[in-house]
Amino acid sequence: MSSTGTTHYPAATLSQQVETHTLSVLVDNEPGVLARVIGLFSGRGYNIDSLTVSETEHERHLSRITIVTRGTPMVIEQIKNQLDRLVPVHRVVDMTVAGPHIERELALVKVRGKGENRLEALRLADAFRARVIDASTESFVFEITGASDKIDGFIALMLPLGLVEVSRTGVVAIARGPEGM
C-alpha cells in the first residue's frame, strides 16, 4: 500500500466524526413502504441502530418511522436526502439538529429468581419506576419506559439477578414545544 492514501471514497468522511442522529420520517402507510426504507439503508450501507414504525394518522394513511442511525455528517445528510427522495415519504426531520426533543423507549424485562435476588429486583424496579406487569412465584416481568440509556442501566442491573430476556420497542421521538413536524 502506498502512503498517499489514494482512494475513490469521499476523503472528507475519513476526517469527520461519526455521530448518532434520530430521524423522524412521515410516510404513506402503503404496502412496501418499510421495505423501501430498510432496503435503502442496506443497499447504501447505512447503519440502523433502532427503528420503530406505526400508523399515526389513520384517516390520512400516514405512518411515522423513527430511525436512530450513525454516520459522518456527510453520510447523515445523504441519508436524509435519500429518504426524502422515496416517493411515499412526505417529510424527514432530523430530531437531533431540529431542536430540543424527547426520546423514549419501552422495554419488557423478564427476571427469574428467588429469595434475596427477587427482593432486590423489586427494589431496583421501584427505583427505576418500572412496573410489575406479570408475576409468578419465581419470576417477574417489568415494564420500563425511558431514554435508551436508562433502560440499558436497568437491564445491566437485572443481569446478575436472573435476567431471562428483554423485548424493546426501539426509540420513538417527538419535538418539545407546541409545533408538530
Binding site: 469521499p10 423501501r36 456527510m74 416517493v87
Partner: protein, 586 residues
C-alpha cells in the same frame, strides 16, 4: 367522464392518453389480456423485441432521443427479471421509462406459482418507484401516476406490476386532468438567493469553468439553449460528462472536450486548476472526479441539481442550488445580464491562454497507420462522412464507447445515446432500434464493439421485422478492449479471458438476419465502405477490423488526480503510474 372497461383495456387507454405511440414488449402468460387489448386497437403500436432487456434499452433509446417517456410491456417472472438490467441502466442514467409487468393472479401471489417472482421486491432498488396493483379501482390512478413520476423531477424508470385477474376485472377508467400526488413534489425552481450568490461568485472568478452533465439534456432543448446563451454571455470555458455530450456544440471554441477518466487533457487540467466550478446537471461521479482528496482543490463549487441527494454526495460544494437546470439557467442568464459587473477580463484571457496551451498538447492524438485501421481513425471517418446528415449515435460499452465520445462531435442534444452509469454492454443495438423507430428518416448508428454487440445481437431480428435501417458499426479488435487495456496496465499483460475467441463471421451473421454485411480491413477502403453502409436502405452490420493492440488515451489511472493524466505517448511508463491501491479500484 369515466368509461367502463377491463384492466387490460385501461392499460392501453392510459398509454394512448399519455401520447405513447410505441410500446416495446414481449408477450407471455401473465400479460395475455393486455396483448388481447392491443390486438383490437391501432393507437399504440407494439414492437416485438427478442429479449426483455432489449425492450427496456429500446425504450431508453426512444426516450433519450425524443425527450418522451419510453414504454415497456413484459410478462411475469422471467419477463420481469430479464428487464432488470435495463431498468437499472435507466435508473443510473435518469431515463424516463414506464415498464408494465404482468403478475400471476392475486390469489396465487406468494404461492410460488408458475412464472411468479416478487417483481416489486426485485425491482425496488432499480426503479425510481414501483407499484403492485391489487385492485382495479387503483389501476387508472396508478398508471397515470407512473408516467408523472417517470418524467418529472429527476427522471427514472417506474414499474407497474399488474396481476392477471386485475387485467380481466372491469372498472371505471378516467384520467383526472388536475392530477397531484399526495407527497411527491419535485422542486424545479432554484432558490433565487443562492442563484444570486452563484452569479456573484462567477463574476469574481479568475479561472471559471462550466462542468455540465446529462441533467441538461434531460431538462430539455430549452435548457440546452439557455446553457449556450450563458456560456456566450460569460465567455467561460465549458466541459461536459459523457452523458452531457451534445448539450453544448462541440464545434464552439468555448468547448474544451469531455472530462473524466478518458477526457481531454485541457478539460481535466481546467477542472483541477479552476477557481470557480459551475456544475450543472452532473453528479461528481467517480469516473469524473478521480482521486477525491485531490479533486479541484482550489475551487469554489456551485452545484445545480434537481436531486438533493446528488448534492454533497461525493464532493462538498459551496453553493448548492436545488432545481431544474432549465429554470436555474434562465435565472442565471437574467441575473448576469442585469448586473453591471463583469469578471476580470485580463484574468479570463490568461486562463484561456493556459487552456489553449493544454489544448496544443493534442491529448487525443494517436499514431495513424496505412496498414491497419486505427479505431480512432474509423470514428473520425465515420464522423466526417455522417456529420452533415441527420444522425443519431448509440454505443455499447468499452473502448469504442470512449473513442466515440472523444472523436464523434455532437452539436445537438438527444443525438447521443450511451450507457454511462451502469456501463451496460449490449445497450447500443436495442437502443438504436428505439431511436430508429422514433426517427424513421434519420441515420441511426450503433458504434459497437464486437464483444458488447453479441450480448444483444438477437435484436437484429427486431430490426428486420420492422425494416429498421440501423447501422451497427463494429470496431472489431477481437478483444474485450477495455478489459484488455486494464489487464495490460494493471495485471502485467496477462489477458485472462479477454480474447474473443471463435467470433462469428459478422457478414454472414448480417445476412442471416436479413441485413447487409460489410467487412473493411484496410484504411484505404474505409471511406467507400462507410458510404456504402450509409447508402444501403437496410440494416447493416459493418465489421470494421481495427488494430487489436490500440489503447484508449488519455487516461486518468484509478486513484489518481486530474493532473496526473497519462497521454498516449507516455504510455510506456504507465505501469509505474498506478499505485497498489489504484489496482483494487475499477
Amino acid at each position: 367522464m369515466s368509461t367502463e372497461m377491463t384492466g387490460a383495456e385501461m392499460v392501453i387507454a392510459a398509454l394512448a392518453d399519455q401520447g405513447i405511440e410505441h410500446l416495446f414488449g414481449y408477450p407471455g402468460g401473465a400479460v395475455l389480456p393486455i396483448y388481447d387489448a392491443l390486438f383490437a386497437q391501432e393507437k399504440v403500436k407494439h414492437i416485438l423485441v427478442r429479449h426483455e432487456q432489449g425492450a427496456v434499452h429500446a425504450a431508453e433509446g426512444y426516450a433519450r432521443s425524443t425527450g418522451k417517456v419510453g414504454c415497456v410491456l413484459v410478462t411475469s417472472g422471467p419477463g420481469a427479471t430479464n428487464a432488470v438490467t435495463g431498468l437499472t441502466d435507466a435508473l443510473m442514467d435518469s431515463i424516463p421509462v414506464v415498464c408494465i409487468t404482468g403478475q400471476v393472479p392475486t390469489h396465487l401471489i406468494g404461492n410460488d406459482a408458475f412464472q411468479e417472482c416478487d417483481t416489486v421486491g426485485i425491482t425496488r432498488p432499480c426503479t425510481k418507484h414501483n407499484y403492485l396493483v391489487k385492485s382495479i379501482v387503483e389501476l387508472p390512478r396508478v398508471l397515470h401516476e407512473a408516467f408523472h413520476i417517470a418524467r418529472s423531477g429527476r427522471p427514472g424508470p417506474v414499474v407497474v406490476d399488474i396481476p392477471k385477474d386485475v387485467q380481466f376485472a372491469k372498472g371505471a377508467y378516467s384520467r383526472s386532468k388536475d392530477f397531484q400526488h399526495k407527497g411527491y413534489r419535485p422542486k424545479v425552481k432554484g432558490e433565487l438567493d443562492r442563484i444570486k450568490l452563484a452569479i456573484e461568485l462567477m463574476q469574481h472568478a479568475k479561472r471559471p469553468l462550466f462542468y455540465t452533465g446529462g441533467g441538461i439534456v434531460n431538462s430539455g432543448r430549452e435548457a440546452c439553449h439557455l446553457l449556450r446563451e450563458l456560456v456566450q454571455l460569460t465567455g467561460f470555458p465549458i466541459t461536459s460528462t459523457l452523458m452531457g455530450l451534445g448539450a453544448y456544440p462541440a464545434s464552439d471554441p468555448k468547448w474544451i472536450g469531455m472530462l473524466g477518466m478518458h477526457g481531454t487533457l485541457e478539460a481535466n487540467l481546467a477542472m483541477h486548476d479552476c477557481d470557480v466550478m459551475i456544475c450543472i446537471g452532473a453528479r461528481f461521479d467517480d469516473r469524473i472526479t478521480g482521486r477525491l482528496d485531490a479533486f479541484s482543490p482550489g475551487s469554489k463549487k456551485i452545484h445545480v441539481d434537481i436531486d438533493p441527494s446528488s448534492i454533497n454526495k461525493n464532493v462538498k460544494v459551496d453553493i448548492p442550488i436545488i432545481g431544474d437546470c432549465g429554470h436555474v439557467l434562465e435565472d442565471m442568464g437574467r441575473l448576469w445580464r442585469a448586473s453591471a459587473r463583469y469578471p476580470d477580463k485580463r484574468a479570463l484571457e490568461g486562463w484561456w491562454k493556459q487552456i489553449d496551451g493544454w489544448r496544443a498538447r493534442k491529448s487525443l492524438a494517436y499514431k495513424n497507420s496505412n496498414e491497419i485501421i486505427k479505431p480512432q481513425y474509423a470514428i473520425q471517418r465515420l464522423y466526417a462522412l455522417t456529420k452533415d446528415r441527420d444522425t443519431y449515435i448509440t454505443t455499447e460499452v468499452g473502448q469504442h464507447q470512449m473513442w466515440a465520445a472523444q472523436f464523434y462531435r455532437f452539436e445537438e442534444p438527444n443525438r447521443w445515446m450511451t450507457s454511462g452509469g451502469l456501463g451496460t454492454m449490449g445497450y447500443g443495438l436495442p437502443a438504436s432500434v428505439g431511436v430508429q423507430l422514433a426517427h424513421p428518416k434519420s441515420l441511426v448508428i450503433d458504434i459497437a464493439g464486437e464483444a458488447s454487440v453479441l450480448m444483444t445481437m438477437q435484436e437484429m431480428s427486431t430490426a428486420a421485422q420492422y425494416r429498421l435501417p440501423i447501422k451497427i458499426f463494429i470496431l472489431n479488435n477481437k478483444y474485450m478492449g477495455m478489459v484488455r487495456q486494464w489487464q495490460e496496465l494493471l495485471h502485467g499483460g496477462r489477458y485472462s479471458e479477454s480474447y474473443m475467441d471463435a467470433l462469428p463471421d459478422f457478414v454472414k451473421l448480417a445476412e442471416a438476419y436479413h441485413a447487409v454485411g460489410i467487412r473493411c480491413e484496410r484504411p484505404g477502403d474505409l471511406d467507400g465502405a462507410i458510404r456504402e453502409m450509409i447508402d444501403v436502405n437496410k440494416a447493416v452490420i459493418f465489421d470494421c477490423v481495427v488494430d487489436p493492440a490500440e489503447n484508449c488515451f488519455p487516461m486518468i489511472p484509478s486513484g489518481r488526480a486530474h493532473n496526473e493524466m497519462l497521454l498516449g505517448d507516455s504510455a510506456v511508463s504507465v505501469e509505474e503510474a498506478i499505485t497498489e491501491e489504484g489496482k483494487v479500484m475499477v
